[in-house]
């Protein structure tokens, strides 16, 4: 990475950007679906969002904040799948999912690529994306920003975007919210008049041109785009020494 005033890596900016998604979330379950968001959720809990609930990835709510991959020493609760799916409907959760495809309205696809009747490539299936997006805040983490992911139109709407929710009516929009989309290049949101995707911040070292080139749809780019905030020295220490001492974050986001 180029020299500058910071020593943070791209992966660490991503961790901090993910952590920020849970700032002010209160006493809710943070559900991160891959490595960098997992580190981010734990960082948020250890710093500015101490009331977050975290799981061990299966049926237990953990009462401590272990390193990623390490076993929790303290269990504070039980959350088997049946309770997890019910918790979603209470809204007391903010999930950060992945996306195989994501469009400018925030429609997400993890089900299949190509025609649904006979997919070119079968992926996971819709999983819980429909229930998530209609019931609790749902953010997305995209470790490799590319036009293959950021597409004009997704092949199978699994997670619901703003346009589709609006078209379906008040029962769909009532609890629908996509606060953040975070990629290895920057942070995005839907704070535009027509609720389409906007570039909110660039990770240091990334240009607007790079983002536009890696995005397969017209992105709203404000005249003045800030940089994603710097991690504090204490945050860097927590990431490197406490939460991710094995540097698993670098596997998901290699150094730029």
């Amino acid at each position: 990475m180029s020299s500058g005033t910071t020593t943070a890596t791209r992966a660490e900016y991503c961790v901090v950007a993910c952590a920020e998604a849970w700032r002010g979330a209160g006493e809710v379950l943070a559900s991160p679906m891959s490595t960098v968001p997992t580190i981010g959720a734990r960082l948020a809990k250890l710093t500015f969002s101490p009331d977050l609930l975290l799981t061990d990835g299966e049926a237990l709510l953990i009462g401590d904040v272990p390193a990623v991959g390490a076993r929790a020493q303290v269990v504070e609760g039980w959350l088997p799948y049946r309770q997890h799916l019910a918790l979603v409907a209470t809204g007391r959760r903010h999930v950060m999912m992945g996306a195989s495809q994501l469009d400018r309205h925030g429609n997400q696809n993890i089900s299949c690529i190509g025609a649904w009747d006979r997919p070119e490539r079968q992926l996971l299936g819709v999983r819980g994306a429909p229930v998530n997006t209609l019931n609790n805040p749902t953010s997305y983490w995209i470790p490799k920003h590319s036009p293959r992911v950021f597409v004009e139109r997704v092949d199978m709407v699994s997670g619901v975007g703003y346009d589709r929710a609006a078209a379906a009516g008040p029962s769909a929009t009532r609890y629908h919210r996509i606060p953040d989309v975070i990629s290895n290049l920057g942070v995005f949101d839907f704070e535009t008049p027509d609720r389409t995707m906007r570039l909110r911040s660039l990770h240091p070292g990334v240009t607007v041109e790079q983002v536009v080139e890696a995005t397969g749809f017209a992105l709203t780019v404000p005249d003045d785009v800030p940089h994603t905030r710097e991690p504090t020295a204490e945050e860097l220490r927590l990431i490197r020494e406490v939460i991710d001492p094995k540097a698993l974050r670098d596997r998901e986001v290699p150094a730029a």
Partner: protein
């Protein structure tokens, strides 16, 4: 109270082609794999399978047993994509009813409660509605006027589940952290068959565990099968973890037709004893 113990073959003997069969567990966790393997050895076909899918779905799909699959996903957990499920979908080998995870739970709940549907928010505005044109919405009769999805009851002809312990009458116990939806599958089914690691005396069920571990009640169970290692290669904690080495070999073989034929020949051509012996030999080679 009747003794409901039987063999896996006897369970399969109670099933018929064309039935709707629910399979318990979740992904690659506590799947009734010995019962699935018995199904693979049978000539049953045209099944409608309802499952939080794992290798149960993959194996049945690869064997051409599935006419229709009702599921939100199929995964091997530590390997995100189930290769046999993926390949079968890509050749349109069966009809798919793709639902959200919560829709499956509420569909089973409706069936267990003898209700025609359950109203839920999940599914609205997603393509689950477009790929399942028979799904309907329902308008709240109260002042809110909300329009919600009416998830139809997922009534089953039979349920297959695997638990850690059971007694001979069908009271079945899970000892791991998650019950999944095994009780719901049994209650949503006209007939339920429980395989377990070990059949114990009723009086011994609570020797090491609290009463909340007694997940499945005998009133909903028609058959009990003792199948040690019967969830293999999926996990059945605390009795055993997922056999990751074997699962990797399964997934690798499933990605290549020639390798898959060899895998079937080696592991799935005989009975459950032969399967166990072949798995033991596999591990000796890997060691």
């Amino acid at each position: 109270m009747s003794d409901r113990t039987m063999t896996a073959e006897e369970v399969v003997g109670r099933l018929e082609s064309g039935m709707t069969i629910g399979i318990g567990g979740w992904g690659s966790r506590r799947k009734p794999m010995a019962l699935v393997r018995a199904l693979l050895r049978s000539d049953l076909t045209d099944l409608t399978v309802v499952s939080y899918g794992g290798p149960d779905v993959g194996l049945l799909a690869a064997a051409g047993k599935i006419r229709k699959l009702v599921a939100a996903f199929a995964t091997l957990d530590s390997i995100p994509l189930e290769p046999n499920f993926g390949a079968a979908r890509q050749r349109a080998a069966f009809e798919m009813v793709e639902l959200d995870e919560a829709m499956v739970m509420w569909g089973l709940t409706a069936a267990a409660h003898r209700l025609p549907f359950m109203p839920i928010r999940a599914g609205l505005a997603s393509d689950v509605m477009s790929v399942n044109p028979s799904l309907r919405t329902v308008t709240s009769p109260y002042g809110d006027g909300e329009e919600l999805v009416a998830v139809p009851a997922l009534r089953l002809d039979a349920a297959l589940v695997h638990l850690n312990r059971a007694d001979a009458q069908g009271n079945a116990q899970y000892l791991g952290p998650d019950p999944y939806f095994d009780d719901l599958f049994c209650e949503a089914a006209d007939a339920a068959y429980v395989s377990c690691e070990r059949i114990v005396e009723t009086a011994d069920l609570l020797k090491d565990s609290g009463p909340q571990s007694l997940l499945v009640k005998r009133a909903f169970v028609n058959g009990v099968v003792e199948t040690p290692n019967g969830a293999h290669f999926t996990s059945c904690v605390p009795d055993y973890d997922r056999d990751e080495t074997f699962q990797r070999a399964y997934a690798k073989a499933a990605r290549d037709p020639e390798a898959w034929r060899a895998f079937g020949e080696r592991f799935l051509s005989g009975d459950e004893d032969a399967y166990r012996a072949a798995v033991a030999a596999f591990h000796e080679e890997e060691a």
